[in-house]
């Protein structure tokens, strides 16, 4: 009797979990379905490389080349600032300051920074990089703003990846007369690097898709040319979707174009996530 009861409970639990899982898959699947059905029509080679133009009815033509280049530039430059600083800060927290009240507070602040709404980062970027540092509305200002968004992710993954390395490796290095930085850089970092890379990719996927931080710092809705220098304004994929769907003259005719951009963004971020999976598999191989 008791056994039967348990069996029924088990069945019910299984059923509930299955329904929830299928529900989630369905929700995600329908997002992809809607985006791909609406956007596939505009996708072709030209869409990726040519410049956007609007006809007199406000319908977009051509492609999204400048926005792709803009997104790559601003993401790449943002990472160029965030990766070295973030990794060094993570190393500092794990190898030099593992204990201490001040540093625990610092850790909480870094975690908080990761949770701050991205539009707040945008305002900060406007105040500091655009106005105070006089970088203006530019790729540079936007990249710096995005780098602050990426920093906490990189710092936290670096610190955790370094901490996960057993300390007998550190002792082995110290016992040979290695200084702390030598042990960190030559022994611990090479082991931790693939885990750190997953954090870096996670951060780049995050900042490539952000709209709010670039809104006030340099992104523009329309450029008739490719960006050529970092003091110029730029187009970006997520902001272009926003623009087409809110401020363009003919929103309904722009819809498919926006869906096409969404597909490109999804593909970019999927590629980054595949890279993370590959790196994780490699890490597992090394540590086993």
């Amino acid at each position: 009797m008791n056994f039967k009861k348990r069996m029924i409970k088990q069945r019910i639990a299984f059923l509930i979990l299955s329904v929830i899982s299928i529900g989630i898959l369905f929700a995600i699947g329908s997002i992809f379905f809607v985006i791909f059905v609406n956007g596939l029509g505009v996708l072709n080679w030209k869409f990726l490389i040519s410049i956007t133009s609007f006809d007199f009815k406000g319908i977009p033509h051509g492609g999204i080349g400048p926005a792709i280049v803009g997104t790559f530039m601003v993401t790449g430059l943002g990472l160029a600032f965030a990766v070295p600083i973030g990794i060094l800060a993570g190393i500092y927290l794990s190898e030099y300051r593992s204990k201490g009240k001040i540093f625990n507070v610092l850790r909480i602040m870094v975690a908080n920074l990761a949770g701050v709404p991205s539009v707040v980062h945008g305002l900060f970027g406007l105040a500091v990089f655009v106005i105070l540092f006089r970088f203006g509305l530019s790729i540079l200002s936007a990249a710096l703003t995005l780098s602050i968004l990426a920093l906490p992710i990189i710092i936290m993954t670096t610190e955790n990846a370094m901490r996960d390395i057993p300390s007998d490796l550190r002792e082995a290095a110290y016992a040979l007369g290695a200084k702390r930085w030598q042990s960190a850089l030559f022994v611990i970092l090479p082991v931790a690097i693939s885990k750190i890379m997953t954090g870096v990719i996670l951060a780049s996927a995050r900042i490539a898709g952000e709209t709010a931080p670039i809104l006030f710092t340099g992104a523009t809705l329309y450029l008739a040319h490719y960006p050529t220098a970092i003091n110029q304004q730029f187009m970006a994929l997520p902001y272009m979707i926003y623009g087409l769907m809110t401020t363009s003259m003919n929103i309904s005719a722009s819809m498919n174009f926006a869906y096409g951009i969404a597909i490109i963004l999804i593909i970019l971020i999927t590629l980054m996530n595949i890279a993370i999976v590959i790196l994780r598999l490699r890490t597992r191989k090394i540590s086993s």
């Binding site: 007998d168 082995a172 290095a173 110290y174 016992a175 040979l176 007369g177 290695a178 030598q182 022994v187």
Partner: protein, 251 residues
């Protein structure tokens, strides 16, 4: 007998807790000194005090001195990195770096600024030979050290420590994590290299101490109970505590 290390009134604390209490004795040069005693008697802490490995812990502090080459290694201005180059260490669990065999051996030299390939090659050969590992790995020096067996890894760790030409080698129960046959090989290596450098080995294995040690120090509850020639201490100890330990009354 020449003295390599002179321990004077050494007391060691972790926070409020005293681990070692007024240890004084002299470690003879170019010989094997074994430190024996029951678990928790402070023998590992003693070993790690000599090359200042305990400095890593915030609540560690010590009194007394350890005189090496006329200087007190415990004094704050003694350069720790230099000390650890001269006094090497091998740990209980083999801990090679996840790098090639070659890179493991040359690591110490590289961080001390040696770059010439010919010098590095030569040291790799001589160090691996001294650890009697060379014949087994000479054709696969670029292989990851993790692929070696436990005993080979521990001998690689010995080679890695020898590569920087230390004057003293500290070993913290180096054979307790590996099989008896591999342990025997390591004992042979230690006897061989003790002709050139001073060896200080912590072991809980009295038979091992009897096989390889020239001198034995017996620690009990943070105190040095007895120190002397191995044969004398094992066969006719002065102290009753030592006798009790050796005859298996406790420990």
């Amino acid at each position: 007998m020449d003295v390599e290390l002179k321990i004077e009134n050494l007391s060691v604390y972790f926070g409020q807790k005293q681990i070692l209490d007024s240890i004084s004795f002299e470690i003879p040069t170019k010989s094997i000194t074994a430190i024996i005693g029951p678990s928790g008697c402070g023998k590992s802490t003693f070993l790690r005090t000599i090359n200042r490995m305990n400095d890593r812990f915030d609540d560690f502090h010590s009194k007394g001195s350890i005189i090496f080459d006329g200087k007190d290694v415990l004094s704050a201005d003694y350069p720790v990195e230099e000390l650890r180059r001269k006094i090497g260490m091998v740990f209980q669990k083999p801990n090679p770096f996840p790098k090639s065999i070659y890179e493991n051996v040359v690591f110490g030299l590289k961080i001390h600024g040696v770059k010439e390939r010919s010098v590095l090659d030569e040291v790799v050969k001589s160090s691996l030979e001294a650890a009697s590992l060379y014949e087994q790995v000479k054709d696969k020096l670029s292989m990851n050290a993790y692929k070696l067996s436990g005993g080979q890894q521990q001998r690689l760790c010995i080679a890695r420590a020898l590569a920087v030409k230390p004057e003293i080698l500290l070993l913290d129960e180096p054979t307790s994590a590996i099989d008896p046959l591999a342990a025997k090989q390591i004992e042979e290596v230690l006897e061989q290299i003790s002709k050139e450098i001073t060896i200080l080995i912590v072991t809980h294995n009295i038979q091992q101490a009897a096989r390889i040690a020239d001198y034995i120090a017996f620690f009990y509850m943070g105190k040095l109970v007895e120190f002397g020639k191995a044969e004398k201490l094992l066969n006719a100890p002065d102290e009753k505590l030592t006798d009790d330990y050796l005859t298996g009354m406790y420990g």
